[in-house]
Symmetry: C2
């Protein structure tokens, strides 16, 4: 079977790669593209700009590789399971009900499938990472927010309206910080990579990013250790609540904080054990992603490969 | 297609009925049986006593109806999806890994299928109640605790280890009351039928049950109105957390508190609207069960009917 293109669209960058059926990544490219700048009042115009941007990023790689069997795209938005339409995107508020895959497919003369980016990170990790050989996987991506994705019975689960696994908004954190959703207490206000940086700045007075905070933790910085420990504790609590509902036994985590795994994981594990129902203590395994930043690209590729297999 | 037996095993009673393929209930019976009294130190002996009790309850109705195509049983326990074995039961702690369906089937010379009671209440409501025509349903049963059940893509979802939808243990309540699970803040410590009765007793000094509290609310009793309002608020919060993860748009509720629907539902709806992510506000419908106490029997019957259809 031929190769496909896996495309991971973030808020500021489009990353894409040629991927074969075994999940091996060939040539890869990265394009800067700020999604929020594509948003204008007129929805049709926003759509045009988005399509232009995606086409501009994807077309060159497609041209170079004649033998591409399909394109999968992870996008920060919510998708209708029946129609495949993008219902909405937090990054481009003017858009609603856009047949993104269909329109892009026409432009590129290729089969295009698009799905939520956090869901595709889960699908990638399931297909080629921590989830290999399993039938279900809960995956968290710690970035600006916290993305969640779920595979059950070997299928991606996105819910009735494509908005499932908004795990970052579980209210398991102290209620001191306002979330982008308008509520307080959301898990991502304490445990996303951005939240860790913001909490570090608040207590240390130093503005820096999650990567640098990991380095500071390495050198024993007490504030860095505190905010990472706190993030672990809140993640453990949120994962426990999720497992109470889903009884998923395998969890993987990727994203900006995983460089500090050794500093937040012990607190995560301890809080998880304290919070799970007694029969489940010790039966839920939380692992660091094996794919890292490539989970999204490989999940997008999986979507395209699935289409190849069923067509 | 012939009729089946639907059996709903509770902590104190076994209720069973003949059910046809359209969900019409024919003859029904009820037997008193305290599950906790079947529990003895020796696991084999506990199993024998349980099998004797179930056989004793089911056999007479089976004898009367020659044309029974199968038996479905809802039982307060957790079941392995692969083997069908009952992994454990909170009511009979000595039991573990019991092939309940298989052993009972041999005794009764019938095909027997057993599944978690709260899950089967969801399946019943999905097949013959609020869920008719839908593809997914979240169902809550407000009783001694709060049972949760989930149907997605028209299939019962019970998780990797059969313990999914322990929704009563979501920590969305004030942390003033200790739950049976050992934690504080569980939804069922404020919003189960038993919890409402206990909270009412604590603030009014009057020991009574949920049914009587509903009557007191009818007559304007302020304490009754308060505990029911509080229960609604906590339920709204727990349902919102669940919808953040599952994006299920239809929820049904059955059990001992539904008689007071008018007193707790407005608070539930208000808290749900306050707690959902903005794009989902107004898109989640919470309804009172159409089947009431029969959801469990009809879910058990559905399990048996599914087997008939696939065999």
């Amino acid at each position: 079977m031929g190769s496909v293109l896996g495309v991971d669209v973030g808020g500021t960058n489009i990353r894409l790669a040629v991927v074969d059926s075994r999940g091996n990544i060939g040539e890869r490219q990265q394009h800067e593209a700020r999604l929020s700048q594509l948003d204008v009042e007129d929805a049709a115009q926003s759509t045009e700009r988005l399509l232009d941007t995606l086409e501009g990023a994807i077309h060159p790689l497609l041209e170079q590789h004649g033998e591409i069997g399909g394109i999968g795209i992870g996008f920060p938005g919510f998708f209708d399971n029946q129609t495949g339409c993008m219902l909405s995107s937090p990054n481009i508020p003017s858009l609603s009900n856009v047949p993104l895959a269909e329109q892009l497919g026409k432009r590129l003369k290729q089969t295009v499938r698009v799905q939520n980016d956090a869901s595709l990170a889960a699908l990638g990790e399931f297909s080629f990472g921590v989830g290999v050989g399993l039938s279900s996987l809960l995956h968290l991506t710690l970035g600006t927010g916290i993305g969640g994705g779920l595979v059950i019975n070997k299928q991606l689960y996105t819910g009735d309206g494509g908005m499932a696994m908004e795990i970052g908004h579980l209210r398991v954190a102290p209620q001191d910080r306002l979330c982008g959703c308008g509520a307080k207490g959301c898990m991502e206000t304490w445990a996303s990579a951005s939240a860790v940086a913001e909490r570090f700045a608040a207590i240390s007075g130093i503005q820096t990013d999650a990567r640098e905070i990991c380095r500071l933790a390495d050198s024993g910085n007490a504030h860095a250790l505190t905010v990472l420990h706190d993030a672990g504790r809140i993640l453990g609590r949120g994962i426990a609540e999720t497992v109470k509902l889903l009884d998923t036994r395998q969890v993987s985590i990727s994203g900006g904080l995983t460089g500090a795994w050794g500093y937040f994981f012990p607190a995560l594990q301890q809080e998880l054990d304290n919070s799970l129902l007694p029969p489940l203590v010790g039966k839920v395994s939380v692992q660091c992603s094996r794919l890292g930043d490539d989970a999204g690209i490989l999940g997008a590729a999986t979507l395209a490969l699935e289409h190849l297999q069923t067509s």
